[in-house]
């Protein structure tokens, strides 16, 4: 990858945007502006930013309920994401989805799925459609280590490999499926090895280093576009915060969390590129977030008369 200081600054800026955005979400949650479940991406920013860098605007992205960072990195505006969490019509899903269900047609961001592994079959189908219609497009499906225990994971990897579909499976292995650690959930904890059993290209990478993620994704996407079938990337990472806002974190040691914080993706990048102008980005991002909050605050609540909209498509004249 042609890595220069401009790109490093861009990566830093995007990761910082996610970090500060998530911190603002916590604050707004405690003020009861945001409700429902809220899953933070803090600690995992390198994956979304590195990953999205390697995609074209035409590629499709499917994500999980911990997807604010991926939506931001994909180019969904902070304003529309914040408005979504406020339940306002200006939200990217018109207030129907909330934190866990961010959707954006323009950037081909297909959610926001809160059923663990539930989006993998969809990704297989999207890629199948692209293959059938001979479109040179990649579908990226992001999920956590918890998904690997689900049947849909195995069914989907099998189909994708069997039919050589253009899918990039990205496993964000943060070592815990909610409060259950990987070794308490998997007989084989090497997830890349597990995926390789389906005879697809499978690699384990450092998910705390945005440059490494970007390089690995560029490589994988090139292979997929070449037609060699799906690729599985296991990104080793860690979530610095609790699973959701209802998690007392009884299942992991504080020392473990502190150890991983030494690998903070922002620090890792700064160590490689010490000249990044941090304060410039802090200021810019503070204003983006302030604007997003302002936008959400001033957004509109949908009329209850419209409650039953979006259950079926509007009648199409035949």
């Amino acid at each position: 990858m042609n890595m220069d200081s401009t790109l490093a600054e861009n990566f830093y800026r995007q990761m910082l945007l996610i970090r500060r955005f998530e911190e603002k979400c916590v604050e707004l949650y405690s003020k009861e502006k945001i409700r429902g479940f809220l899953h933070l991406y803090i600690g995992e920013e390198a994956i979304a930013v590195g990953l999205m860098h390697a995609l074209t605007p035409e590629d499709a992205v499917l994500a999980t309920y911990r997807e604010h960072g991926q939506a931001l990195a994909r180019g969904v505006s902070a304003k529309s994401i914040m408005a979504e969490m406020y339940g306002k019509v200006e939200g990217c899903s018109l207030g129907r989805g909330g934190s866990m269900h961010l959707f954006d047609k323009e950037t081909h961001f297909y959610g926001g799925s809160a059923i663990v592994a539930g989006a993998l079959p969809l990704a297989v189908g999207m890629a199948l459609a692209d293959k059938m219609m001979k479109r040179n497009r990649v579908t990226v499906c992001i999920f956590g280590d918890g998904a690997v225990a689900e049947g849909e994971f195995h069914e989907s990897l099998n189909l994708a490999a069997l039919w050589k579909l253009p899918v990039l499976f990205v496993c964000e292995n943060n070592l815990y499926g909610m409060g259950t650690s990987l070794e308490r959930a998997e007989s084989e904890t090497d997830l890349a090895k597990k995926a390789a059993a389906y005879r697809l290209t499978s690699r384990q990478i450092d998910g705390m280093d945005v440059v490494k993620v970007a390089e690995a994704t560029e490589h994988a996407v090139a292979e997929i576009r070449f037609g060699s079938g799906p690729v599985f990337l296991e990104c080793l990472t860690y979530r610095f915060r609790a699973h959701s806002m209802f998690d007392a974190e009884l299942y992991r040691d504080k020392a473990e969390v502190e150890e991983w914080k030494k690998k903070d993706p922002l620090l890792v990048l700064l160590q490689k590129y010490p000249d990044i102008n941090i304060s410039k980005y802090e200021d810019e991002i503070a204003s983006i977030i302030a604007e997003a909050v302002d936008y959400a605050e001033n957004g509109t609540l949908e009329s209850i008369e419209d409650l039953e909209k979006f259950v079926y498509s509007p009648e199409v004249a035949s």
């Binding site: 899903s93 989805g97 297909y110 999207m126 199409v316």
Partner: protein
């Protein structure tokens, strides 16, 4: 032009014509290709369209149903075939949590123009994991449409109606109907989704039915007719949406109503229909409503037990007489 063909051939013809007309349509499911379909519906289609459009899948209902949803999201018009409604439970997550919700969760951005066909119903001595009628369950779910073709004409039309719909449509084909013959007119005006059809007009009692039960109701109506009871038989055709208008119009005419439903009574579509009549036409009724449903047991293997479990013409006749006696 009108021809006489089997229900199976009608479904196959509709799929074949749709695939000839629209390159976005494809068939995906277990053994739909080389085997020719578990119930031989897709026999011969592989030869015409090839492996790229007639997709045999591994035994993975969740993945191939979800793949259908994903392909639908991405511009295709997939027809997913699930061998039986019992097996569809392995794909229930995809049907309920994705197909039925994506349009809503995305604020109207992503619709799912998907057709899922599956076999339903008992009567083949296939016991308790192949014989159930769970279409009423699916009718519970906002975001889905549930069709139950009974006639050869509907077996054909409903494939097209489902494919033309912008949202997920589930089509339930009763396995015992596949060999029935009937007339198909491909030029006839198509009755839309959500419209019931009166199969027999009558003035004394309304019998509401769907799928194979329509024929049992018609058989019962003939017996009742010999006793001087003039029954109206309505084929519901669609369980979601239900044609409230047609149901209430018939209730207002006959003032007596019963429902034949191959699902179990508890929490069934027949219960829903009774509730709607209660809400919308209670004062039109001259007698308590009645229904003939499957006895509340998992479907047994032994032929006589299975026969006794399912709705049959004699039970329908008995229920109709009872309602008339009570009014």
């Amino acid at each position: 032009m009108s021809t006489t063909i089997t229900y199976r051939e009608a479904v196959r013809q509709a799929i074949r014509e749709a695939m000839e007309k629209d390159e976005r349509v494809f068939l995906i499911g277990e053994d739909v290709g080389r085997y020719g379909g578990a119930f031989a519906v897709s026999m011969g289609l592989l030869k015409i369209f090839g492996e790229e459009r007639i997709l045999d899948t591994p035994l993975s209902e969740s993945a191939f149903t979800g793949a259908g949803i994903g392909a639908a999201l991405n511009g295709m018009r997939p027809i997913v075939e699930i061998m039986t409604v019992n097996f569809s439970l392995l794909a229930l997550d995809q049907i309920m949590n994705n197909a039925a919700t994506l349009l809503h969760m995305s604020g109207g951005q992503f619709n799912v123009p998907l057709v899922i066909r599956m076999v339903t119903g008992g009567g083949k001595q296939l016991a308790a994991q192949h014989s159930h009628s769970l279409e009423g369950w699916y009718a519970h779910i906002p975001g889905l449409k549930v069709l139950t073709p009974a006639t050869v004409q509907d077996a054909y039309d409903m494939v097209n109606l489902a494919l033309a719909d912008p949202d997920p449509v589930l089509v339930f084909e009763n396995a015992l109907l596949y060999n029935t013959k009937g007339s198909l007119d491909t030029d006839a005006a198509v009755l839309p989704i959500g419209k019931a059809k009166t199969e027999r007009t009558g003035k004394d009692i309304t019998i509401l039915a769907y799928g194979i039960s329509v024929f049992k109701a018609l058989e019962a109506a003939e017996i009742l007719s010999s006793e001087g009871i003039d029954a109206e038989v309505i084929d519901l055709r669609s369980l979601r949406p239900l044609d409230d208008e047609a149901i209430m119009a018939s209730v207002r005419k006959t003032h007596r109503v019963m429902i034949v439903d191959e699902g179990w009574k508890s929490g069934s579509i027949s219960a829903e229909i009774m509730a709607r009549i209660n809400e919308q036409a209670f004062f039109e009724l001259d007698a308590p409503m009645g229904r003939v449903c499957t006895v509340e047991v998992p479907i047994p293997y032994a032929a006589h037990l299975e026969h006794a479990a399912l709705p049959q013409a004699d039970k329908i006749v008995a229920m109709a007489r009872k309602i008339l006696e009570e009014s």
